[in-house]
Symmetry: C2
Subunit: 83 residues, 2 copies
Amino acid sequence: MLTAEIHVTLKDLVLDPQGTTLKRSLEALGFTGVAEVRMGKYIQVRFDSDDRKAVERQVDEMCQKILSNPVIEQYRFTIREGQ
Amino acid sequence: MLTAEIHVTLKDLVLDPQGTTLKRSLEALGFTGVAEVRMGKYIQVRFDSDDRKAVERQVDEMCQKILSNPVIEQYRFTIREGQ
């Protein structure tokens, strides 16, 4: 069994309204010194397979087709053994 | 400048309807061998401060107060130098 850990984040130049809202909430709660907040997705995909090469290819294709929006988002992933 | 990288995930025993929906979409697109999909949040918080201990305390408090729902979610974070 292999598990892919995928991070999908907004590209650096893309505004992040959700992050800005969260930053304001943190300030309203009294947290000081926060310069910026960026929100992203963290997706874990577990595979029955043990074929690392094939899983890597599949995950890359998933990221491009459905898990990210390549116009505004970037992705990176690692594959590890186990659940 | 310090940056906190925070992962918020559902506890293992909590059902993940968003992950289940995504798994079905992947199968509908022809991806085979997917055993499970779990969706989580990945939050980056940048601090003006260089006081690692103080930032660690702040991030832990943020996670408990606003970034996660401790009833159903768990969190982990790392602090690194730079943006």
